[in-house]
Subunit: 439 residues, 2 copies
Amino acid sequence: MTPGGVLARFGAMSKAAFQRLPGFRDFVPEDLALRSHIFDAWRRVSRRYGFREYDGPPLEPLELYVEKSGEEIVGQLYAFTDRGGREVALRPEMTPSLARILGERSRGLAKPIRWFSIPQLFRYERQQKGRLREHFQWNVDIVGEDDVAADAEVLAVAIDGLRALGLTAADVRARVSDRRLLSAVLGALGVPAEGLPATYAVVDKLEREPRERSLERLQNEAGLDAGRAREVLALFETPGLEGVRERFGERDEVGAELARLDTYQGHLEAMGLGDFMTFDLTIVRGLAYYTGIVFELFDRSGEFRAICGGGRYDRLLELVGGEPLPAVGFGMGDVVLGELLRARDLLPDAAPSVDRFIVPIGPEQRALALRIGHAERERGRSVLYALREQGVGKQFKAAASAGAREVVVLGPEEVARGVAVVRDMASGEEREVSLEELT
Amino acid sequence: MTPGGVLARFGAMSKAAFQRLPGFRDFVPEDLALRSHIFDAWRRVSRRYGFREYDGPPLEPLELYVEKSGEEIVGQLYAFTDRGGREVALRPEMTPSLARILGERSRGLAKPIRWFSIPQLFRYERQQKGRLREHFQWNVDIVGEDDVAADAEVLAVAIDGLRALGLTAADVRARVSDRRLLSAVLGALGVPAEGLPATYAVVDKLEREPRERSLERLQNEAGLDAGRAREVLALFETPGLEGVRERFGERDEVGAELARLDTYQGHLEAMGLGDFMTFDLTIVRGLAYYTGIVFELFDRSGEFRAICGGGRYDRLLELVGGEPLPAVGFGMGDVVLGELLRARDLLPDAAPSVDRFIVPIGPEQRALALRIGHAERERGRSVLYALREQGVGKQFKAAASAGAREVVVLGPEEVARGVAVVRDMASGEEREVSLEELT
C-alpha cells in the first residue's frame, strides 16, 4: 500500500464511519481526570486494606459466562467467533475470570486471598439514556474466609471507597440482607424450599412492581396460596430486622442468623461506619451465586440506581475446579458513581496545570531553556516551553492557557549574570533564581 | 434460573472451557506489580512533560482501521458484527481513535495538543513463542506543531520513560531517520518518486532479508535498474549521516533536511539525551502515514525486538475530517520492555507488604483491633488483621506472610494501661505506643 493510496482512501471516507460506537465513551483529558480521580481513590483504599491488584483478559471463552450466568446475560454479551474458530466474549463481569484464575492458582496462595481489580466490562444493553455498553468496575474480593468479619471488611472497603471521594453517611447508605436469614424466615412462613428462588425473584422486584403483580407472582411462580403470599409481602413492609426478631427470633435457625448479623453490625460500628448501614430484607441481588450476606449501596436521595452491589458466594470457586473456598466481594461501577459525584459537587479540578513554563526571550536562550526544562523534569516538576521561536507575549499566553504556576524567564542580561527571573503567575511576584539552581 | 441449576451446570463443565484464550495474559498480583511499575513511570514522565491522559473505547467501527491501515492489519483484527449489525473491531492501535476524537474536538483546543494514553491493543497474530494477541501501549502525541522541536520533545519523552525504569544509554538507543531526507537522497540517486514506497518497503526489511533478495526487489518492485539498485543498497552500508552529508550535502533539498536533523540532535543534546541517539537511514517504519522524522528504540545488545516506534504524521488528521494539523508521536509496548527490564535485573519488588498487622490477644480486644485498624487506614497506612479469632502464633505467621513491617499487639494488661506493643518485624525491636495515638 502506498502512502498516497492510504491517504486518498482515508480522505474519501464518509465521516459517518468515524463516529464512536453508541454506548461507548471517549475520555478526553477532562473526562479522564474524573476517571483517574475515582480509580486513585479505589486503589488507595484497596491498598490500605491490604488488597493486591490483579487483572484478567477483557476477552474470555464464551463458556465462562454461558454456564455461569445463564441465557439472560448471554443475550447481552459481546460474543463472536474468533479467527481460530473459538467462541469468545468481551467480559460482562469480573467474578468468572477471578474464579478461573483462582481455580488454577489458589492452592499456592496464603489464605485469605485479598485481591482487587478495576476491569472494563461490556454488555450490549438496549440503548437508553444514560445506559452504556461499557463501564469500569472496582472488584474487591476476600477468598478463603467464611467468618462474618470478612463480610464486614468487604462492606467497609466499599464504604471507604466512597468516603475517599468525599461522600458521607448523609449521601449514601448500604442496604444489607442475608439470604440465609431470608430463607429461614420464609421457611417459618411456610414457603417451601423449592419456592425460594422464585420468591427471591419477586422480592428483588418489590420496589419496581405493583403489589398486585407481586402477589400474583408469589402464587403463580412460587406456588404459595393467597394467604401465605400476603404474609410474605407483609414481611417486607418493615424491611428492618426488628419485626423479624420479634416474630421469629426465638426460632433457632432464625436466631443464629440474627446473631451473625449482630456481629456484622458490631464490626462496622467498631470501624466507625455504623451510620452507613441499614438492614433491609428486600435486598436479594439478582445473581444466582450469592449464598449469604448481600448488600447494595445507594445514594440516600434515591435519585440514582445502585452504586455498588456484593455479597458472599461460598460455592462458586470449587465448581470451577479449584479448592472449595468461601468468598465474599463486591463490584462498584464508575458511571452511577460519577453522576453522584457530579450531583454532590465533588468533581476534581480537571483544568490543565503545570509547575513551570520556561520562556527564552530569544533564540540564543533556547538551548538553555531545554536544559533547564529537562533538569526540572528530573526533579519531578512538570515543565513546558514553546516548541517554536515565539515572542514573549505569545509565550506568556501559552503559559497561562497551560495553567502554569510559575514562569521562568530567560533574558540575555539576566542569563549573563547567571540568573533567571521566576514569576509567580497567581501573585505576579517575581524573584531571581540562579541558573546553577535551575540546571 | 435456580441457584442449584446454575451450580449444577457449572460443576458439570469440562475444565477445558476455563482456560484463558491463547495469546492473552492473566495478571496475578506479581505480574500486575510489574505492569503498574511500568505504567507509573510512563504516567510520571508524561506529566512532567505536560502531557494529559486521554482514552478511547477498546471497540471501534471496523472502518476506522480498514480504510487507514489496509488489508494487512485487517487480516489481524479481532473484528465481528455486533447485535446491532455494526461491523466492529477491537482496537489494534491507538492513532486512529486519537484522529477520530481530535477530528471532532481539536478546533476547541489550545495548540499544540499534548496528549498521552495507555490503551490495551489487540491483534490476532499467528501464535508464536512470546507473541501475544494483546498488549498495552504508551501513546504520546503532540498535535498542532510542525517545528522540529516537537519531534525532539517526543523522542525525549520516550527516552525518559525508559530512564525512569532504570535503563541507561548503555542499555538502549534510538535509531532516527527522516523520510524527507531519505526521499531527497534517493531522488539524488535517481529513484523516481513512484518508486519510493516500494524502496521504503525494501529498506524496512534490509536487516531481515539477504542482500540478493533486496537487490531483486529494488529492481522488480521499485523499478530500478541493477546499477541504481546496487547504489541504493550501498547507501545503507554506513547508515549514519556522514556519508550522505559528504556525497549529497551540497544539494539544497538534502542540505535543508540535514540542517533540520542537526537542530533535532542539538535539542536532544541540550536536554542531556544525546548519547541515546544515532541516525540510521535504514529506519523507515512500516506504517504508511509517517511523513518526516521517524525513530525506533532498541536495546543495545540487539537481543529484543523494537521497544518503541514513532515519528511525524502530518497529513493524517485533516483527512479524518478535522483541522489540517501536523502531528508527531510514538507507541511503546509493555511486553518487550518487560522482557528487557527482566534481563537487566530491573524488576520491581513484587512481594506483598503492609505497614501494620494488628494482633488482638483474645476476643475482648477484637473490637479495639478493628477500631485501630480503621483509624490507621484513615491515616493512610495499609493495615491487616486476622478475620477470625486465632492464636497469637497464627496471627504472627499471617503478619509475616503478608509482609507486615510492624505488628501491633493488643494484650489485656497493656490495653488496661492504655497502650499497645508495636513490634518492628525486621529488627524485632518492641516499643509501647499509647492507644490514644492509635485510635
